[in-house]
């Protein structure tokens, strides 16, 4: 193949080879020729011109009418190429912008990154994937001195870059709170004030905050209008919706939040998510929450990280590999 590789530069030889043999190998080389042409910015009309020249050399007695048809085609392709190049330039500009946003998105990832706690009895999995470049979802883990796990999952109403910036603010507000045993209700009330003070930004945030007591296995939680999560109860082998109510962050000053508590048994699993998980669409069909739970159920014996990864893969494929909304899924599994 190496000798023919050089032929790629010679359209005429390639063409002659094909006309004589009609073989697939020549066609494969034609494909490589076309890839190389794009790389060297050769426009389509140039390739047709090349073809025409080769044809005239190979068949000097070519019918004048066929020659005329080539003039016609070349003219058509010249105007096509000019227009195409314009589109191409726009595309390049767009790629430049995209690169810049990519940098911002990476920075956001660094700013908002959180370590998933490693705890003996509790297996934790987390996955968050933006639909566009910047993520309007957010999750966060903290551990206090006793090892109790605080976890937040949030979604900014509003998407894109402003939403992403707004999330950074929430994160820094949260980090300024004292480290010791912070109850969900208190955290949401403090955060509500932060968001409410920036109300002119027009952003609202839904958030679920949970605190897992790792000694007593009590799970304390409160919600600010966030998509309800689920608890898998191993005893009845079924999912239970986490029942909680509360106003979105930033809607009303001095909102009070209810706090709830539930006991987590061995084998139970806490599932926290954003609406990107449950409200995704496949064609014109909305995916039911049940369907997501079925996928979780199917993988429930695996590690928490494997479960969230598999749910993501399942939904990504179902949506034809185009996420319509940011996806965030957290699973906390009590092993022993």
């Amino acid at each position: 193949m190496s000798s023919t590789r050089q032929n790629i530069n010679n359209y005429k030889e390639l063409l002659e080879q094909y006309i004589n043999t009609m073989d697939e190998a020549s066609l494969y080389q034609a494909e490589q020729y076309s890839k190389a042409s794009i790389q060297h910015n050769v426009s389509p009309d140039k390739i047709i011109e090349e073809h025409y020249k080769a044809l005239v050399e190979l068949f000097p007695n070519l019918d004048e009418r066929v020659k005329a048809s080539f003039q016609f085609l070349i003219q058509t392709m010249i105007s096509y190429s000019v227009n195409y190049q314009q589109t191409e330039e726009l595309r390049e500009k767009q790629l430049e912008l995209k690169t810049e946003i990519d940098v911002a998105a990476n920075m956001q990832n660094t700013l908002l990154s959180t370590d998933v706690p490693k705890v003996e009895n509790i297996d934790i999995g987390a996955k968050s994937v933006p639909a566009k470049l910047m993520n309007g979802d957010y999750y966060h883990f903290v551990q206090d001195d006793e090892g109790n796990i605080g976890t937040a999952i949030a979604d900014v109403i509003g998407k894109g870059i402003p939403a992403a910036f707004f999330m950074s603010m929430i994160k820094y507000a949260m980090e300024s709170f004292p480290e010791d045993r912070m109850y969900p209700k208190i955290i949401l009330e403090l955060l509500n004030r932060v968001v409410e003070r920036n109300v002119e930004s027009g952003m609202f945030v839904t958030m679920f905050y949970g605190l897992y007591d790792i000694n007593k296995h009590e799970f304390y939680y409160a919600t600010a209008g966030h998509e309800p999560g689920f608890i898998y109860r191993s005893q009845i082998q079924a999912f239970e919706e986490i029942d909680a109510k509360g106003l979105l962050l930033g809607v009303k000053k001095d909102t009070k939040y209810n706090q709830y508590v539930t006991h987590i048994q061995q084998g139970d699993m806490i599932v926290l998510l954003t609406d990107g998980v449950t409200e995704c669409r496949s064609g014109d069909r909305f995916i039911e929450r049940e369907e997501v739970l079925e996928v979780i159920d199917q993988y429930k014996e695996q590690s928490a990280q494997n479960i969230v990864d598999n749910v993501y893969k399942y939904l990504e494929r179902l949506q034809d590999f185009k996420l319509r909304d940011d996806f965030t899924l957290l699973i906390l599994k009590r092993n022993s």
Binding site: M1, E24, A25, L27, Y28, E31, K35, I38, Q39, R91, L95, K98, K313, E316, R317, F321, K322, L323
Partner: protein, 133 residues
Amino acid sequence: MKGALTTVPIYKEWDIVGARQSGRNMAKDLGFSTVDQARIATAISELARNIYLYAGQGEVSFEEVQGDTPVGLKIIAKDNGPGIDQISKVLEDGYSTSGGLGAGLPGVKRLMDDFDIVSNENGTTVTVVMWLR
């Protein structure tokens, strides 16, 4: 011919040509136009090249499929390579390593009617179908 399954193993670059040939023959037998045959061959090239470049080895199979009314050609490109990490990213135009210059996977998706990928750390299977219009 009906329901027949042809499989072409991919080990070396030459095998890409063999896969194109088998796919084209089958497309011709099913009654696809020469232009559609060329589209199908292009898609096979991209899939087989990816196997050759990123998985080292694998196979491309062809199968006649029967839809509600039409007949289609199904192409399955399968390997046990490292897998594709973020499929949705890869399917965005302008992602491929050649700088979005080749057709790549987005090109395959555009050329064919149906497109599906299953990929994990144990390998990748891309399944595409073109229906006879």
